[in-house]
């Protein structure tokens, strides 16, 4: 089959690789109908996530058709149209029992590696380095889906492939960030990053009752989407004094909740950005936390900071003193997709949200290497790339 494989920093190629096979009784094989490039795939593309190996298949956002099931998968039939959550979850550990699926105890075969990096191992993730299990990803014609009796969600008639695709990651991820904000009537939410997760976080914040949402980015077409398609007020990082503006827009209170939908490769301004880039290139710092720093400074006293943006390691110059003295609450982590995909499917069905508005590019899988480059450079108004194998 054809698959998008990682060869090194900014080097991905479509290669012919062996078809996947059932390896465990609870596995299924999926023929991929649609797959997407995630903003977090760019961290792999840029080589800032360790433990990638030459030849790894990428991709953790995908949906398609079941073509084979293992003997212990009783709830799926060949031919079922399903969408697959990006974190793998066994469904039977204490974390899965308490709906904290992305913290599953049993889905990372390389748990020892994650324990070395993080103390304890969270769930495995499709196509996201060996630290997170080394699972082959779904930017391919076929993909093996472990714990297929737990993760995949059958897509009802009336919901399109593309609508369902976004249930694999970005829609639940934006939604969980808004849930984590503990939004109360009258609240203002500020969101850094107007990529797919940020845009869905805006929509979700409104769905959960936010009075106002203020979105921050520096890419004009993304700010335009945030304003016109999601109803947010917007601030341009390059033109606006963001911290002052947020304070004035809220009559001195500050946003009640902030969302960092940017993560470890934030674009900053001025000397601190050079400092971060230099340290990151020397591996003295793994993450560039500009958005996080601003969000901490901007957040109102007693406010909540939700972090759906991915962080991988060690951060410098995080103003924890500001967070402490303002009594902030931090909520973060990989998304418990299995928990949110059903209620969000209902919201798609009843018309609360149509996630396909984020798609800017629909391309064949063969074009994936060019698509990665375009997405990384944010060329051609690229916000979301969907690939058809």
């Amino acid at each position: 089959m054809k698959a998008l494989c990682w060869y090194g920093k900014q080097d991905v190629r479509v290669e012919n690789v062996p078809d996947p096979t059932i390896l465990n009784p609870r596995d299924a094989i999926l023929r991929v109908s649609l797959t997407a490039i995630c903003g977090s795939d760019l961290h792999l593309y840029d080589g800032v996530i360790p433990t990638m190996e030459t030849g790894d298949i990428l991709g953790h956002e995908f949906m398609g058709e079941i073509v084979e099931v293992g003997p212990e998968v009783k709830n799926l039939q060949i031919g079922d149209r399903v969408v697959v959550p990006f974190p793998l979850a066994c469904g039977h550990c204490n974390f899965c029992h308490t709906e904290r699926f992305s913290l599953c105890d049993n889905s990372n075969p390389n748990a020892w590696m994650a324990e070395r990096a993080f103390g304890y191992s969270a769930a495995g993730i499709f196509g996201y380095s060996h630290l997170f299990g080394g699972y082959a990803g779904g930017q391919a014609e076929y993909v093996r889906v472990p714990f297929a009796d737990v993760g995949p969600l059958k897509i009802p008639a009336g919901v399109s492939n593309e609508q369902a695709l976004f249930l694999s990651d970005v829609l639940p991820t934006g939604y969980q960030a808004a849930v984590d904000c503990n939004i109360q009537p009258g609240h203002t939410v500020a969101i850094w990053g107007c990529g797919p997760v940020g845009l869905f976080a805006i929509k979700s914040a409104f769905m959960l009752g936010a009075e106002r949402v203020i979105a921050i980015d520096f890419v004009p077409e993304r700010l335009a989407m945030a304003r016109h398609q999601c109803g947010a007020e917007v601030l341009n990082l390059e033109d606006d004094p963001v911290l002052d503006a947020l304070k004035e827009m809220t009559a001195g209170r500050g946003p009640d909740a902030c969302i960092d939908a940017v993560g470890m490769e934030a674009h900053g301004l001025g000397a601190i950005d050079w400092y971060d880039r230099a340290k990151q290139s020397l591996r003295l710092e793994t993450d560039r936390p500009h958005a996080l720093r601003m969000a901490i400074m901007a957040c109102a006293k007693g406010g909540t900071l939700a972090i759906p943006g991915v962080y991988g390691g060690l951060l410098d110059k995080v103003p924890l003193g500001a967070a402490f003295n303002k009594g902030l609450t931090f909520k973060m982590g990989q998304t418990h997709v299995q928990k949110y995909m059903r209620p969000l499917l209902e919201r798609i069905q009843n018309g609360d949200i149509d996630p396909t508005f984020i798609t800017t590019h629909r391309l064949p899988l063969e074009d994936a290497p060019d698509a990665y480059e375009m997405f990384q450079k944010k060329e051609d108004g690229c916000v979301k790339v969907i690939l058809t194998p």
Partner: protein, 264 residues
């Protein structure tokens, strides 16, 4: 069914059970083994770090040098005590390993799976087979990397249903070993805590070399991985794997893992 004692006191009782008929004091030797581990491990890190010839590599080398220094210092090597240490790490010194895991299943299920000793090779990857001769005695076969097998008979010396299990090899075994496993209810209805303690004592003499190979492999991390697989099987019915999956590589990575290092 649910036992009332906290796990820690059960573990202490296990120590009593195991040491009651073993008057030899091996504390000194254990300490030395751990220091040797630091010394050798630290030295290996230095070599590995230097081999990488990078900034990250230098960092690894630095950490390694620190470990090696610490190992040497604590073992008395720097104070001229190397002879004493060499004596203490002779092949007859036991190696003791303790690890624990929490499994989200009721105690009776966890206990029953372990008590059926023939299940053990399902998650103890260094054990090839366990045959139960009768309710108390069992025959164990372990595979070494070199293709040699080690065999021994073990006897259950203390058994409390749904609480604990202790066993010890019988005389004439290739590899003296004993084990004690405690099963205790985890707080907050989180299933069962399993505390395992294994002691190995390789015999001196003819078997020394091949047995050394075995117990060098059997580290704390191995016991941890054994217990993790035990949890995987009980909670999910399978052991997660990527072994045999697709990639653009000709050959699989060792252990489905990576050659990379987290430190770069």
């Amino acid at each position: 069914m649910a036992n009332k004692l906290p796990a820690s006191s059960l573990v202490r009782r296990g120590e009593q059970v195991l040491t009651s008929s073993q008057p030899k004091d091996y504390g000194r030797g254990l300490e030395d083994v751990s220091n040797w581990g630091q010394l050798l491990g630290g030295g290996a890190l230095v070599l590995y770090g230097l081999k990488r010839m990078s900034l990250g590599g230098l960092f690894i080398a630095g950490v390694g040098a620190g470990l090696a220094y610490n190992g040497a210092k604590n073992s008395g090597l720097l104070k001229g005590g190397w002879k004493r240490m060499a004596l203490h790490t002779a092949a007859s010194q036991p190696v003791e390993i303790e690890k624990s895991v929490t499994i989200d299943k009721p105690i009776h299920e966890v206990y029953a799976f372990w008590r059926n000793l023939e299940n053990l090779p399902l998650f103890m990857h260094h054990i090839h087979s366990v045959d139960e001769i009768d309710r108390r005695r069992s025959h164990w076969i372990a595979n070494l990397r070199s293709g040699i097998t080690l065999e021994w008979d073990a006897e259950i010396i203390d058994e409390r249903e749904n609480e604990s299990l202790a066993w010890r090899t019988t005389e004439g075994s290739d590899l003296y070993n004993e084990g004690f496993v405690v099963f205790a209810e985890a707080p907050g209805r989180r299933g069962t805590e399993v505390h395992a303690r294994i002691v190995y004592r390789p015999p001196a003499g003819a078997f020394g070399a091949k047995v050394a190979e075995f117990f060098n492999k059997f580290t704390e991390q191995m016991l941890k991985e054994d217990l993790r697989r035990f949890k995987h099987i009980l909670e999910t019915g399978e052991i997660p794997t990527t072994s045999g999956q697709s990639s653009a590589r000709d050959r699989e990575l060792p252990n489905g893992g990576t050659r990379d290092t987290l430190l770069h």
